[in-house]
Structures are given as C-alpha cells and as structure tokens.
Amino acid sequence: MKFGVVRFPGSCDEHDALLACRRFADAEVLWHKDRDLKGVDAVVVPGGFSYGDYLRVGAIARFSPVMEAVTEFALAGRPVLGICNGFQVLCEAGLLPGALLPNTSLRFLCRDVDLVVENADTPFTRACSRGDVLSIPVKHTTGRFYAPEEALDELERQGQVLLRYADGHNPNGSARDIAGVANRQKNVFGLMPHPEHATDPLAGSADGGRIFESLVAHVEELVAA
C-alpha cells in the first residue's frame, strides 16, 4: 500500500502528511506538475497555501497538471483525502460539494477540537465507530463550510457528512457544524481539521491516525479481494 502526497508550491503540511502516512504504509511525494501518480493506492492533498492562495483558496491549484490525474483517479473510485487547503482544492475542483468561506471571526484559528464520527462506514472512517469523538487540531482562516440548504439536506441524507464538530467546538461557523464531507460515492473526503498532526500521543493526540488506518484497511481489503 502506497500513499501519494501532493506537493503544490505553497503546500506546508506535506511533511507531516508523509510522516503520518509512513506510520501506516509507504508514501511518496507527487509534484504538482506530475501527470503520473506513480502507482499510488491513495492520494492525500495536504494543507498549506497552494499557489499562495491568490485569488481564492484552492482556486489555482485545481488547474495544476497533477489535479487532472487526481480527478481521473477519483472518478475511477480510488480514495482521495483532502486536508484543510486540500479540502478547499477538492471543493474548487468539483470533486467535493460546497465551498469554504472565511471564518466568521475573520481570525486565524489554531486549536484542538473534538469531532464526532457521523458515518463509520466509509474508507476514511472504518477504523472508528459512529459516535466516536476524535481530538484533532484545526489551523485555518478560511474553514467555514458552506453549501445551500437543499444541498446540505442531501449530504445528510446520503451519509456524506463523516465528521461534525462536537457541541461547542465549531471554530469557524461551518454550516451544521460540518467538519468533513465525502462525495456521494464516499471515495473522496475533505476535512478542515488536520489528522496528520495528531498521529502521535506526543503531539497531544493520536486520534488522527484512525483516518490513515482506515484508508490502509480499505486498500488492503481491495487488494485481497
């Protein structure tokens, strides 16, 4: 099992993402100009400020050569995880519903938040149980998840809301306390909190490891089948 971690100019969390992936499997960097995903089994689009976040967060990265390959990979049903800026990029690319807006406080936030697992029946959450609470840090200025009301109803109906901020933990004003959503097929997942920064008890929590563990179990099950 091999993870590919995309590096855009301006990415800054790819090192932690690589370290997190390597705790559970192999991992290598995919450069933003790569058109070939080097045979990876899962793609991680990490946090940072891709292309300086100029114009709008994630707006430029979506047109990079690697995103063409990532889009094909995603449309073939393979797993793609977007963290923070990666989540924003996947929304801009149309691989995930909704958009991320500036935090209601207009401030940069950096803190641990509690997240409730809403759907444990996905490649990203299968190592959890529904209702589990994960402690994972957020650090962002633009993390307020938005989608029109009807779209939010549809996301809830289809079980696409995988993680929700626990009561009183919504840091940014996200609609319905949504912290992470998947596409309809559940093979693309984006979240604002940073599971890659919470894979070692030394960092305060190892709860983020459950996301990577889930992906490894998913891929290994596919290979065995």
Binding site: L55, R56, A99, L101, N103, T104, S105, Y146, P148
Partner: protein, 69 residues
C-alpha cells in the same frame, strides 16, 4: 466585480458596516466587501466564462462584468 452572494454571511462586510457609524457615517446598510479584477481583453464576451471557470466561485459569489473603453 466579484462579491459574496446575497444571503451568505459576510463577516468582512458586517465589520465595515459596524465601523462606519462609529466614525459618524450614519445611514449605511448592506455593506459587502468583494474584489475587483481588472483585465485588458480582446473579447469582452469571454469574460463571463472566465468568471465561471476561475475568477469567481459561482456557488458563493456573484460577479458583474463592467466594460470600460
């Protein structure tokens, strides 16, 4: 000209709206902070497509094309 869609919480606009009366500028409402993208183009008819594809995110933003000779 790109601005947040009506109905979407715009904390930047709200902050400006609160700041103006504090400076004595009364009677101001519906403040929205957006951004202006200036372009020299050969074919202005293509600008809406540019907005849809890159310059704006139509899910959260409205855009208006203002042509100046």
């Amino acid at each position: 000209m790109i601005r947040p869609k009506e109905g979407i919480l715009d904390p930047q606009g709200q902050t400006v709206e609160r700041a103006l009366p504090a400076l004595g500028f009364e009677g101001v409402a519906n403040v929205h902070v957006g951004r202006l993208v200036e372009l020299d183009v050969d074919d202005v008819a293509r600008v809406p497509e540019m907005c849809e594809k890159l310059l704006a995110n139509p899910l959260i933003e409205d855009y208006e094309v203002l042509a100046v000779d």
